[in-house]
Amino acid sequence: MPDVVLRTTGADSPDVEVDMSTTLGSLDVPDPVFTASGCAAAGLELAPFNDLTAIGGVVTKSIQLAARSGRPTPRMAETPSGMLNSIGLQGPGIDVFLDRDRPWLEEQGVRAVVSIAGGSVDEFAKLAGKLRGQPVALIEVNISCPNVEDRGQVFACDPNAAAAVIQAVRRTAPSQVPVFAKLSPDVTDIVSIARACVGAGADGLSLINTTLGMVIDPETMRPTLAGVTGGLSGPAIRPLALRCVWQVHAALPDTPLMGIGGIRSGTDALEFILAGASAVQVGTVIFNDPSAPTRISHELRAALAARGIARLRDVIGLAHRPPQLRVPETPDPPGDEPVIPDTAVVDRSGHVVTFEDAP
């Protein structure tokens, strides 16, 4: 490996070995940190800065059926602890991806999450069909796309349209590969969209995509972005993203979630895990720190170790436990010592609560 410089990695607690593995539908991965779509291209450019086989995997830039040139520049604006982008899904199309990028990912042994984006239900279905027989770890469906058959209405903002896409993708996608729907936060009730996607066969959900914003240049007195509005991302949206994960996990505790939005450190990632995410994705922060996926994975491991947590799985959704659950401060009364597993918490009335499965 070339130089990988990790910033401020917390001191590993040497006595706790942490099992970082997690499960996303039928996919088991040894590490919960992924790169986010559109922030890692197809992995190649990040390889000098990360061992991409050691993290959960790479989520590709959203791939479309045909080549797309994207939008004019300026395509970005920096905002406080974030940025706006209006790239417009530039990419070479799925055939070039399968010829050129996918073989590289396979040779390197990188788990590839393929993000797909279409303008109609049929396009999504065709894209999923093209992934049959391909070594794909997971399919992420970017439904924050305008539906050309419905006046550009974004699929992710309408439960029926979102469900139609997921159902079509689930039908044509390779059956052993989990399908995750990636949701937009720009909706009044994210839980209803989440339910619609899961009802249509989504094996899990990725939360969240960017939220729409804009900047006006006070010099030109015009919008800064050529596309006028753009997607806001970065730590600025982290509390919004965390709230979405929390709400969806509360409503659908058995659905695996990937938490995304402004994750910059291991403890940021831990917040998402505690809110109910089984894994996390790192996006905009990669632009600031190309080795962030590796660093965040190390920091998360250290954060778990420092808390005496031996398995990441044990804390997925843990923040949802009722507030009265605490390890009693007074010593146990004498008598037969109850056998309490490592991962257990004892509530005030003396009941042992374990978190083998997310509560």
Binding site: L46, F49, K61, T73, R75, M76, A226, I286, P290
Partner: protein, 293 residues
């Protein structure tokens, strides 16, 4: 060797005319750097609110000596990130990624080379001049800026080049006018074979136009280093694109951080900068919805 990310340390920040020269101790970058490449710096610290990297052309490198590898770049304060950099002191840490981008292509055989720099755009041309002279090339400089204070590297240029022509917009140094006003004369006088340029986009466009018309319209090749807004510098964000004609004659929106910043002048769609020309591969037909995120 690919680019590296290192925790650099500020060695010095010095005023030079209207600019600042920052030298960083950053091992692993100096040894690899070729003329025209750049570094991308993180600003505002590990928890800072400015997330995007700032790109700067590498002016000089020293790969040996007391400090191991050092790199120097020249910058002007143009916004919050460069203001933060200007406030760094010796020993402060700065996270650096580099060297990045495609360097200037060098002629195989000795050739007469004119190097055109605008403002701080002159910074990468001195490493280039060195490399060209080592190959037996003749080097002539044309340096321009808004005023005398913003001319960078006049002394070095005089020391290294056969001749130097200076222009300033206000006439405070050299000839009053633009580099493109004097360039045709320089090309003819030195019998130039190739023009290299770095500076603002409008200057590059004018330099390309002059070079393409040189020798009564025969034209000579140009290598220009462009400056597009960048967020990552390493090729993952797709913000730094411009329309460029490929080997197959097709226009594509190309990332200037990995396929540039140096391009052959005749490959850039100068008339279409800031747009996606209709004949670009994958261009969306006018009027179609394009709101995908």
């Amino acid at each position: 060797m690919p680019a590296v990310q290192v925790r650099g340390e500020v060695l010095s920040v010095k005023q030079t005319g209207a600019y600042l020269a920052m030298t960083l101790v950053a091992s692993g970058i100096a040894e690899q750097t070729r003329p025209g490449q750049f570094v991308a710096l993180a600003v505002s610290g590990d928890d800072g609110s400015m997330l995007l990297r700032r790109a700067f052309s590498i002016h000089q490198v020293a790969s040996r000596g007391v400090y191991g590898g050092t790199i120097e770049f020249i910058f002007s304060v143009s916004g919050k990130g460069t203001a933060w950099l200007a406030g760094r002191h010796p020993h402060d840490p700065v996270d650096v990624v580099g060297p990045l981008g495609r360097p200037f292509a060098l002629p195989k055989d000795p050739a007469n080379c004119v190097l055109v720099g605008g403002g701080y755009g002159a910074a990468p041309l001195f490493m280039l001049a060195d490399a060209l002279r080592k190959r037996g090339c003749r080097v002539d400089f044309v340096l321009g800026a808004a005023n005398a204070d913003r001319l960078f590297g006049a002394l070095d240029a005089k020391r290294m080049a056969a001749t130097v022509a200076f222009t300033t917009d206000d006439g405070s140094y050299g000839e009053e006018g633009r580099v493109s006003d004097v360039l045709p004369g320089v090309i003819d006088r030195v019998r130039a074979d190739v023009v290299y340029a770095c500076g603002p986009m409008a200057m590059l466009e004018a330099v390309y136009a002059v070079s393409a018309e040189a020798y009564g319209g025969a034209g000579i090749p140009t290598q220009v280093a462009v400056e597009e807004s960048m967020a990552c510098g390493i090729g993952v964000c797709m913000t730094c694109v411009l329309p460029v004609i490929g080997d197959d004659g097709q226009t594509r929106m190309v990332r200037s951080c990995v396929e540039g910043p140096v391009f052959a002048g005749d490959r850039i769609r100068w008339d279409a900068l800031g747009t996606v020309p209709a004949d670009t591969v994958g261009a969306i037909a006018a009027g179609a919805t394009t709101a995908a995120r």
